[in-house]
């Protein structure tokens, strides 16, 4: 009989009893999004790395407070976001997001003409610049929803907002992006 991977709540229970391997197993699927969440908030790679690593320590310490059966990812990302906000306050360095080089971007169909590719690339760069120029309260909602692909509920949890606020901020942010591009 094939064995199934253990359910998340079983792994949580083991981690809560101090099983470091279980904690690593629990966190592994969320490491990338945790780091990127921190990056979106701090806008600095070194700060994001520090914030995400410290958040993991805090999550490990706080695991006793995690309610078994609740979704783990939003709980973890909320800790990451809190830690990243603390880092952001102490840092003044800001890095801009960059687009991958054209050759690395996966093609979805027939290769576009060189002119078409150039126009599309410029449009994408303009949109990214417009997102980065948004006020933080709007930029972070857009980043969470589109760049990190978080649900509305997860976005609310990560940013410490109500779902209604997430909706209204996203709506205003999209309006501003339409005007800017």
């Amino acid at each position: 009989m094939a064995s199934r991977p253990p359910a998340e709540q079983d792994v949580v229970a083991r981690a809560q009893h101090g099983d470091g391997d279980a904690f690593a197993q629990l966190v592994a699927p969320h490491e990338q999004i945790a780091f990127r969440t921190a990056l979106m908030i701090t806008r600095n790679t070194a700060d994001a790395e520090d914030a995400a690593q410290d958040a993991m320590v805090k999550a490990f310490r706080a695991l006793g407070r995690f309610r078994v059966g609740s979704p783990f990812r939003p709980w973890l990302l909320t800790i990451v976001a809190n830690e990243a906000r603390n880092r952001r306050r102490s840092s003044s360095r800001r890095e801009s997001l960059a687009l991958r080089a054209a050759a690395e971007v996966p093609s979805g169909g027939a290769a576009p003409s060189p002119e078409g590719a150039l126009v599309a690339s410029e449009e994408r760069a303009a949109l990214l610049r417009a997102v980065e120029a948004l006020p933080d309260e709007h930029r972070l909602v857009v980043a969470c929803r589109f760049f990190l692909d978080l649900s509305e509920e997860e976005t609310a949890s990560v940013l410490g907002l109500r779902r209604g606020t997430v909706k209204s901020r996203l709506s205003r942010a999209l309006d501003r992006l339409r005007e800017a591009t």
Binding site: Q16, H17, G18, G20, F23, A24, V27, E31, Q32, A34, F35, R36, L39, T45, E49, A52, Q53, D54, A55, M56, V57, K58, A59, F60, R61, A62, L63, G64, R65, R67, S70, W75, T78, I79, N82, L97, A98, L99, R100, A101, V105, P106, E123, R124, L127, L128, V131, V142, F146, F147, D149, S157, G160, R162, L174, L177, R178, T181
Partner: protein, 239 residues
């Protein structure tokens, strides 16, 4: 899906994110067992021992039992026990006052608002301000459980009055060396005196319990679907 949605979704796949570093390297340096869990267990055992000692004392002392039925004062909150259940009980937790921003609430009261010192608790989802008694601020957290922390000055005794019936337990507790009360039961009415001096009755149904204590001139009231141990553990982290 609109054009801007499509454009943003496409853009997400083209962002050159830095590679994800090893995030667990610092966790590996941690002690084998999460420290918080040890602390909580220690706290729970200490509080359980204290509760047993208090309950035993109350049971053995007729004087204490008599006082237990009359009046308790903790800061600006009075708890009055009646032999009969007080009138109507509504099926919701009701914060006092009107919704305001945290910043406005903080500016409107003559004391520093206390917040739980935790790694995970974000700022409260809602904040309410009542002008009675120099200002009553209620901070409401909604998720995963609804918890209301009410804060007011100690200087106005009786501005909040709780009336409890025989089905409600009122138990003295200690919160970081200060006297407090743990109130839990199904017949429990709260009144707040308004700025004009008349009583405004706010009946509430207490699903879990209410912890009332004082801290450096401020009366704090923690309400929600919490066990006594959970409420005490939270209270110890409110600074």
């Amino acid at each position: 899906m609109t054009d801007i949605h499509r454009s943003l979704r496409a853009l997400a796949g083209e962002i050159d994110f830095p590679p994800t570093p090893d995030l667990l390297s610092r966790v590996a340096l941690e002690p084998h067992r999460p420290r918080h869990r040890l602390r909580r267990r220690t706290i729970a055992l200490a509080l359980a021992a204290l509760a047993v000692a208090v309950a035993t004392g109350l049971a053995l002392s007729p004087g204490a039992r008599s006082a237990f039925r009359q009046l308790f004062r903790i800061g600006s909150v009075q708890v009055v026990r009646l032999d009969e259940a007080p009138a109507a009980v509504a099926a919701q937790l009701v914060p006092f006052g009107r919704p305001v921003s945290f910043e406005l609430a903080a500016r409107s009261v003559p004391f520093r608002l206390r917040l739980p010192e935790t790694d995970v608790a974000p700022r409260p989802a809602r904040v309410y301000l009542d002008r009675a008694g120099g200002g009553i601020v209620s901070l409401v957290w909604c998720c995963p459980r609804r918890v209301v922390l009410t804060e007011l000055q100690n200087a106005t005794p009786g501005v909040i009055q709780k009336t409890v019936g025989p089905a409600t337990l009122v138990e003295p507790v200690q919160v970081r060396g200060e006297s407090g009360l743990w109130v839990v039961g199904s017949d429990h009415v709260v009144r707040v005196v308004t700025v004009t001096g008349s009583w405004t009755e706010r009946p509430v149904l207490v699903e879990g319990g209410v912890l009332i204590w004082t801290s450096q001139g401020v009366t704090l009231r923690l309400e929600g679907n919490l066990s006594k141990d959970e409420a005490l553990a939270i209270a110890k982290r409110i600074r």
